[in-house]
Structures are given as structure tokens and as C-alpha cells.
Amino acid sequence: MATGNPSVFLLTVNGQIEGANFPEYDNLYCKYCYVYGHDWTPTSGLDEGITQITCKGSQSNKLIWNFPLETTFKSTSPSGWPQLVVSVYGPDVFGNDVVRGYGATHIPITPGQHSRTIPMFVPEPTWRLQKFTSWLLGRRPEFTDPKVVAQGRAEEVRSLRLKLICCKFAPCRKLICCCFLLFQ
């Protein structure tokens, strides 16, 4: 261990956003980004991205993206461990692009193969009239910055009078992730 310098370690994430299970919606795409603390910096790979638009196949009810995630982070402390934040969007009845779900999960902290299923939720308008007008006009409540989902300040969200509902299904999607921890 070097004296005087804080020890730096690397976290390499190799995985994919496999797909999603949304029984009521189709033609969805997913945007992802990483949220991490001050000690962390990405050294290679993309910090955020967007998948293709996919629709359900004839044989199964699942939406498949098979989108690669390859990123390496560098840090001096496990505090602020990176989280993957995903937002799923799709068209509504009138053709507007609306948000179908937000979700977040921590990158696994142990090396090896992991599969994660993330439940998704969507902000809900509090008043019934607002629900109707947002459905009609296609302007649903959305987060201005999806990173809020990963920050644990949900009580602030409540103060904006949003209720979050689970999207209509049980597991949302799987993330298969191989993590290598390299200590220097």
C-alpha cells in the first residue's frame, strides 16, 4: 500500500440491459445514466446512453433491448457507489412520447455474474382533473432530472405533490452484470 497516497481502485462493469416486462405498453426505449458520489470518476466507457425502440415479439410478451453496458470507474472510497438509473419512454394513444417508468439500482458490489430486476415507477398527478388533462394532452408529470431517483431525496418529491406508482407489472427488466474489482 503506498504511503501518503489514498489507495485507488477500479470498478469495471460489463453487462447489458436485457429487456423489460411492461404488459400494457409497447414500442418502448430506455435511457440510462450513472449516478455516483464525489470520489468517483468514469475512466472509460459511456456515462449515459439511449437504447433502440423495441416492440414485443410474436412469441413472447417481453421487450428485448440487449443493450451493452461497458464502463470503468475509478475511486478512492466505496462511498457514493455508482447507481444505474433507467428511464423508459414510449408513445401514448395520441402518439406523444411519454415516460413509462423510472428505476434505479446499485451496481453489484461483489465481483461475479449478477442478474438484477428493477421495479419501475412513474410520478402520478394528485388531482383527477390533472390526470385527465395530462392523458389528453400527453404532458405527464416527468422528472426534470432523472438522477433524482437515485438520490434518496424522495420526501422532496412528495412535497411537490407527486405520488409515485409502480408501473403495471411485476419484474421490470434484467441487468446481467459482471463486475471486476481491480485494486492498485
Binding site: G37, S79, G80, T105, H106, A154, E155, I165, C166, C167
Partner: protein, 175 residues
């Protein structure tokens, strides 16, 4: 000083009589423990599940503790509340669990309970809501004075916690 990282999330809750739940959580540790970074208490959003009965919060927890001793190992205490369509909040359960003491990824199921009052209070609770609450949250995670309580069982809260321990072996603690 040995260091402990708690990285995970409060996944959700199931088994409660009503949906539209939120959770107030906090972490309590003994005097020898010092919180270096992270929020040690918070409140999740209100979740109203459309499919199934489990309310999902996925609320992140990221804490960094330094300690000089094993006494007072951190405990997570929870209060599950129900919010109805008029915005009124009602207590649905108290629960606590110890933070796991071995490194790695753990799924913890925390059971909850709710205080019961006299039969008049229970009758009023059925019609009007409300119900007795603890005066101070210490009773959730301490055993003192519990014998005075009469409680009923409620649902479970699921947590996923990743634990990273460092320098515990220098103090002779196997991890």
C-alpha cells in the same frame, strides 16, 4: 479505525392491509460509531402498486461509518405509513433489523408490528383511522419497556444491503 460501508436499497413492502405506502427509515448506531458520509435517515416516496400487492420504493442507502468498537452495531429502523387519497397518513407498522455483519450482498426481510390500543380505540380505528403511536422511535429498536406494549403483526419490508468492511481484521475481528 475500522470502516463499514452500507450500500443498498429499501426495496419495498408487502403483506400490509392497504397499499399506497411510504416508509420513514433511520439508522441508529452506538456511541463508538461515527458517520463519515451519507444520510442516516430519510423518507421514501409513496408507492401505489398497480399490479400485485408489493409496494416498491427502491430507496437508495449509502452510508460510511468509522468505528472504534463493536458495541452498538448499526440498526436500521423503519416506520411504514399509509397515505390515502385525501392525503391523510396512518401508521401501518414499526420494525427494525440489524445491518448484516459479514461482507457481501444480503437480502433482509424486516418484519413489522403495530401497537394496539384498548377495544374502544380499536373500534374507533376501524371507523375513523388513527390509532396509537409510539412517543419516541427509540422503542422500535430497544427492548426496554416493551413489556408495556400490546401489538399486532403487520407485513414485511424487504431490503437489499451490500456490506463492505475494512480494517476489521487489524482489530482482531474476523469478517
Amino acid at each position: 479505525m475500522a470502516e463499514l460501508h452500507i450500500i443498498g436499497q429499501i426495496v419495498g413492502a408487502s403483506g400490509f392491509p392497504q397499499n399506497s405506502l411510504f416508509c420513514k427509515w433511520g439508522v441508529h448506531a452506538g456511541g463508538a460509531w461515527r458517520l463519515l458520509s451519507g444520510l442516516k435517515e430519510g423518507q421514501t416516496q409513496v408507492d401505489n402498486p398497480q399490479i400485485g400487492e408489493t409496494a416498491y420504493w427502491s430507496h437508495p442507502i449509502d452510508l460510511h461509518y468509522a468505528t472504534k468498537g463493536l458495541q452498538g452495531w448499526p440498526k436500521i429502523h423503519l416506520q411504514v405509513w399509509h397515505q390515502d387519497s385525501f392525503g391523510r397518513c396512518q401508521l401501518h407498522g414499526y420494525g427494525y433489523c440489524h445491518v448484516p455483519s459479514s461482507p457481501g450482498h444480503h437480502r433482509v426481510n424486516c418484519v413489522t408490528w403495530r401497537p394496539l390500543g384498548t377495544w374502544q380505540e380499536q373500534l374507533a380505528h376501524t371507523f375513523v383511522g388513527g390509532g396509537p403511536q409510539l412517543r419516541s422511535p427509540d422503542t422500535i429498536y430497544s427492548g426496554a419497556d416493551r413489556y408495556r406494549l400490546h401489538t399486532e403483526a403487520m407485513g414485511t419490508v424487504e431490503l437489499e444491503l451490500g456490506i463492505i468492511m475494512s480494517r476489521f481484521d487489524k482489530f482482531g475481528v474476523e469478517s
